[in-house]
């Protein structure tokens, strides 16, 4: 299994017992998760540079278990080039954008360099989306950067937005629908596989923000073929990482 939407560290407005990378690896061993693609919660919060440094420490401690997303802030667009060059030279594989915490529009100018970089390097850009507006905005942006791989984080989050995400991205080669989310709606996995195909759906958990085990049970118990489960849980992420 590859968790294409994971994190690292703690979060300011709710409690969980542990968010360090050692605890994460211990859980990954238990549930047989091969690797997790992580961004630090610090990175989508107050200090993206410090967050990226935390991710680097995790990667260096467990290079086979973690791959890194470079978190960026649209409030510091002039720093993006330097940060991306630095982190990709350190082995990071993608970009993480969180328009929600940064309170910034997906199609705002502060993100444009990140999209251009993703397009040039054919790397994944994981964007947190919540609500129909975010879903539509990402779908539109993705058309302008056809070589970037857009991972629609949470696929819009609420059920109506998740359904819309499948409906409007069906046929888009460079958009993957991310299953990450605490709601784990009954039937959405089956709907996605039927609508866009299992090749365009990614497994993610928000781990350690959220425990990864329920999401695994949700997907494994869904009424889809085993080969579709394998695509979602492993093969799609593997294919993306090989093409960067």
């Amino acid at each position: 299994m590859i968790d294409a939407h994971a994190h690292l560290g703690k979060w300011f407005n709710f409690y969980y017992d542990s968010g360090d990378y050692s605890s994460m690896v211990k859980m990954m061993d238990k549930i047989k998760m091969d690797s997790a693609w992580i961004s630090a919660l610090m990175g989508i919060g107050p200090d993206y540079k410090l967050g990226n440094e935390m991710v680097l420490q995790a990667i260096r401690a467990f290079p086979d278990r973690f791959k890194g997303y470079v978190a960026l802030s649209p409030h510091f667009p002039d720093e993006m080039q330097e940060e991306l060059d630095k982190r990709f030279s350190q082995g990071f594989i993608g970009i993480k954008l969180h328009p929600g915490t940064h309170m910034y529009p997906i199609d705002g100018a502060g993100y444009l360099y990140a999209y251009e970089f993703g397009n040039k390097h054919k790397c994944p850009i994981l964007i947190h989306t919540w609500g129909e507006g975010n879903v539509r905005a990402l779908a539109k942006i993705a058309m302008s950067y056809p070589d970037a791989i857009f991972i629609m984080g949470h696929s819009g989050g609420d059920l109506n937005s998740m359904i819309l995400a499948a409906d409007i991205t069906d046929g888009a080669d460079n958009i993957y629908l991310d299953l990450t989310g605490s709601a784990m709606y009954n039937g959405i996995v089956e709907y996605y596989v039927d609508k866009v195909g299992s090749e365009k759906v990614l497994f993610g958990t928000d781990f350690p923000f959220i425990d990864p085990r329920p999401a695994i049970g949700w997907i494994k118990s869904s009424r889809i073929k085993d080969e579709d489960k394998l695509n979602i849980l492993h093969k799609n992420a593997e294919r993306i990482s090989k093409n960067i």
């Binding site: 709710f14 709606y185 959220i210 329920p214 049970g217």
Partner: protein
């Protein structure tokens, strides 16, 4: 495979149906077989979305032939409920083998204030019948206030989220008759954290069917780093004990 007792199931067609997820008795039976759920505590969508007692009566009729399903009635404050006294309520509980209650203040437009709901909660507390509520919809402050007035009330909290530990920990510490249903309570290492602090006696399995798949919570419990006996309590025994302890 471990046996499960699901305390959080709705049957019937709700007002909003998405992805065709609503349950008839036959559909529920398929799900129960699939996940080895041996018993279920069920309420009716009509009780939540139309009229509480109309749905309650409908529920009894629908599950009449089902020995593995317990009815959970939805109640309102006695001032606005057809069974408007504790005596009438308990008589009907006996007649229909009612073993749990659900309250939907957020749907049914009432408050969990003592002046409004106190004369209903007092007899429920007295007979030890579990009362199921959704604190994130009701408001956590109202849960704490309710328990100050009714400290022996057997309260099962459902629709929790991974963000709720700051409320859950003090409640479980102070009130041994408060239980959490696990389908939404999924912070990292959540089950292990509750077990380490409070033991396994205050956790129960619930699927939140038809909105969620039982597979998620089953996998969570089965892969928890706690003793097998603790998993048995969470999966089945705690709920079974709660149902059997009702004094009617």
């Amino acid at each position: 495979m471990r046996e499960y007792f699901d305390i959080n199931v709705m049957i019937g067609k709700p007002t909003v149906v998405q992805l065709d997820k609503w349950l008839t008795i036959d559909r529920l039976s398929v799900e129960m077989d699939r996940f080895n759920i041996k018993k279920a505590l069920v309420y009716h969508s009509y009780s939540r979305d139309y009229d509480a007692h109309f749905g309650n009566i409908h529920l009894i009729e629908e599950i009449a032939e089902c020995s593995d399903i317990y009815p959970s009635w939805v109640l309102l404050p006695l001032d606005i409920f057809p069974l408007n006294s504790p005596e009438k309520l308990i008589e009907e509980f006996k007649k229909n083998n009612i073993r749990a209650i659900r309250l939907f203040p957020e749907f049914h437009n009432f408050l969990l204030e003592e002046e409004i709901i106190g004369d209903l909660l007092a007899p429920l507390e007295e007979i030890g019948i579990p009362v199921i509520v959704s604190p994130n919809k009701v408001g956590w402050k109202d849960i704490f206030n309710t328990l100050k007035n009714h400290p022996q009330l057997k309260l099962i909290l459902v629709d929790l989220t991974y963000r709720n530990s700051s409320y859950v920990f003090p409640l479980l510490k102070r009130y041994k008759d408060v239980y959490i249903e696990l389908s939404g309570y999924i912070p990292f290492l959540g089950i292990e954290g509750i077990y380490r602090r409070f033991g396994a006696e205050q956790m129960v399995f619930g699927s939140n069917l038809p909105y969620k798949s039982p597979g998620a919570t089953l996998f969570y419990i089965e892969n928890a780093d706690i003793p097998e006996e603790a998993k048995d309590l969470i999966a089945y025994k705690n709920a079974s004990r709660l149902i059997q302890e009702v004094k009617i």
